[in-house]
Symmetry: C2
């Protein structure tokens, strides 16, 4: 938190406490919405409420701009303070994409319906709510600026002068034919540098990168980032221009998707943050990830039980099992992560797979030899076997370590590919469930190797 | 990989094989550099080489544009193909930030020096190489467009007309005083809508968000994303405007930092991808993460050895240990991840910490009760104890599970805060090393609880 935000929060707190209306009004008018939003994050709930009531009374535009900058859980709690009229009044001030985003936070369908009725000219918002979540249609703004491609450059500049403020960041001009179909694009700079009497369709760029209303938001982000765009136009199934998605929204998508990956790797989800103070809801999010992993450990326990009962002279090997499982598990996670990321970045061809596999295998061999030597030495020093010669125990531990590491390294690389083929996001490849399957595999390898070596050497 | 890229790669392959020069020239001229780069990723190395030699001969501008779009490991391998003159010729065609980025891939200092000498007007590049890695100064482009704030709007538009093509995406005008100090900013749209005779300093926006040459790139990304900017100006220690960073570079930073976090969580780094086919180099990257974790498992093994030798009637508990360690470990990772992300997003105040801790504690209690019941039931069914009554074993396993889960949940939330206080990136909080400390903690809790309960109940 930088000092600017801390200072802003402190001033808001003071002005609210002393009821210094003109000062607070002045502060709110001058501060950047996103700074006010950051300050609100550190205010106590009763001050947040007071501030929002104040903003709605004195500067409702700012209230709307601040609301959209807040984090999800705060938006929800602020919305609870408003009656339907206030919510509608705020939504009217927002661009359609932001209005749609806010409406999405209202779970009560009846309330949502009522608010929609209160918004004058709400058809656009209603229409947009029909698009699937996380598609271009849902996240686009319909407040964009387009011109007929038959206009001249001079006419276009005149139109720009008449433009209302609300249209989002104009730096590309999107050009359409008489049927509103997208036909070209040009930058403001190109407009400025073109012959005033030229028709737009003569100077515009006809090779346009666009998405359809049903394009997934991840694909939108990929295109904007790959082609270094500031905005991407969205067309419907007839090629009509219906909205644009700007680069700032794309940054939010990229951040959101990255956070999602990280939560998945740990076996939970971002929703957890929304449920601060609701441990039952959090437990409900976590358990689907935990329970399959937990079931996996029963298999390991049953194996250990079988071994300790049937082959009691094997008990000494149990001591070294956590060592093997942890080492193999960690290598497996490294391989899976590298592979999952490569899969996310590019789709590979057959020959590259072979290269990756062979690399991972050789890495496994190198680390395996090192680990086997360490495991051999450590178990030779520690082991006080009753039934078996010390040397046989430590040779078995070393060899089992070597094999377990190679297999984990390769299994770890294979898993994300397999998951992707099955239609599962490879990002789950290092979650708790996979850790459990690694443990089961490790235990089976370890005891099979130990059993065979003991029988071979004895 | 979309079909467009596959088709492009296929055409390149065909044209190269049949030596169809005019077709290939035409294809290269028309295709977007970033599409060619994507196609190159799936070409075989010898075709990559042939294509680059072809582009250098027939369209060196395109070669330069494609080079900068490639992934790091490919840039390195392509650079190896060029002599110093070719490299210098390509660097001359790039903007300074891109030239700096490419030069950074050349490890040989002597070669770098030679190339710099070959670049006419290389002072800018040389100067920029002096800034620290991952700072604004290093990643900015110096090919920006600025105007003296004493010019009129009309004069500014005239200057824009004379502008050379190379200056990066002009959509903001940066305004400076006679000493090149940044004094204001305006958008092209504002310029277009202002009175032609007004002085720029009368119409410009004076409240500018800028960064200094030594600002960390993460902070740059945070500012651009928070204030929805398309570019951010970079000033030196005297407030002189020296460069700009555009939003497309910020997207790259955000992606890079997200990837870095994910690699850290798994205990490895992105560099691994650069060393495909070099297993020794990969092993060297992984071992610093693996070895401390491996050492941790020796502690667990020694504890188990101690227990199995000194308290042989305890052996039955070893069977259920992997179950407890895995469950506690997974919950701990969930808590750490949530906390590490919250730390990354906002600096919290004391009262919020307490709230988070109490939530995590209560989540631990809920999951702990559930797991304790399952563990009790499972161990009661499975256990065939020799020295201890069945019920005592399963009660001990259940209680130990309950305590281990609560402690892991709280320990997991505490760890990222502790790491941050120690100046370590909290993103490492779920890496292999932490997993090992979780295992040691789990083992100690488990056997202490079991020991005490056995002695209490017997």
């Amino acid at each position: 938190m930088n000092s600017k935000i801390l200072l802003l929060a402190e001033s808001i707190r003071k002005f609210l406490r002393r009821n210094m209306v003109p000062n607070l009004k002045n502060l709110i008018n001058k501060a950047h919405p996103s700074d006010i939003a950051a300050a609100i994050e550190i205010l106590k709930p009763f001050n947040r409420e007071k501030l929002f009531k104040f903003m709605i009374e004195h500067n409702i535009e700012k209230a709307a701009e601040v609301l959209i900058e807040l984090e999800e859980h705060l938006i929800k709690s602020i919305l609870d303070l408003f009656d339907d009229e206030t919510t509608a009044a705020i939504l009217k001030l927002l661009s359609t994409d932001d209005a749609v985003a806010i409406l999405d936070y209202i779970d009560d369908e009846e309330k949502k319906e009522k608010i929609l009725q209160l918004i004058h000219d709400s058809e656009k918002v209603e229409e947009q709510l029909l698009y699937q979540d996380e598609t271009a249609g849902r996240i686009m703004t319909t407040d964009f600026f387009s011109l007929n491609h038959n206009l001249t450059v001079k006419e276009a500049i005149e139109k720009l002068h008449q433009l209302e403020e609300k249209a989002e960041m104009v730096f590309y001009l999107y050009l359409v034919d008489d049927n509103q179909r997208l036909t070209g694009v040009m930058s403001l700079r190109q407009l400025l540098l073109s012959n005033p009497d030229a028709k737009l369709k003569e100077v515009m760029q006809k090779d346009i990168i666009s998405v359809r209303v049903d394009t997934d938001q991840e694909e939108v982000a990929r295109l904007v980032s790959q082609y270094d765009l500031l905005a991407i136009p969205v067309v419907d199934h007839d090629g009509k221009l219906v909205g644009i998605i700007t680069v700032d929204d794309v940054i939010d998508i990229i951040k959101e998707e990255a956070a999602e990956d990280i939560y998945r790797l740990a076996g939970t989800s971002e929703e957890e943050i929304l449920y601060k103070g609701h441990p039952f809801k959090i437990a409900k999010i976590r358990l689907p990830w935990l329970l399959p992993a937990f079931a996996g450990t029963f298999v390991v326990a049953s194996l250990l039980d079988l071994i300790s009962v049937k082959f009691s002279y094997f008990a000494i090997f149990v001591v070294f099992m956590p060592m093997i499982n942890a080492a193999a598990g960690n290598i497996g996670i490294q391989s899976s992560t590298i592979m999952a990321r490569e899969l996310a970045v590019n789709e590979m061809e057959g020959s590259i797979w072979k290269e990756v596999f062979s690399t991972q295998f050789r890495v496994g061999v190198i680390i395996g030899i090192l680990y086997a030597l360490i495991a051999f030495t450590f178990s030779f020093i520690l082991a006080k076997p009753v039934h078996l010669p010390k040397l046989i125990v430590s040779i078995s531990v070393g060899i089992a370590m070597f094999i377990a590491i190679i297999i984990s390294s390769v299994y770890g690389s294979f898993l994300p590919i397999f998951l992707k083929k099955m239609g599962v996001d490879p990002a789950v490849a290092t979650g708790p469930f996979v850790a459990a399957s690694n443990d089961i595999l490790g235990t089976i390898i370890y005891f099979s190797v130990a059993y065979n070596i003991v029988h071979l050497l004895q």
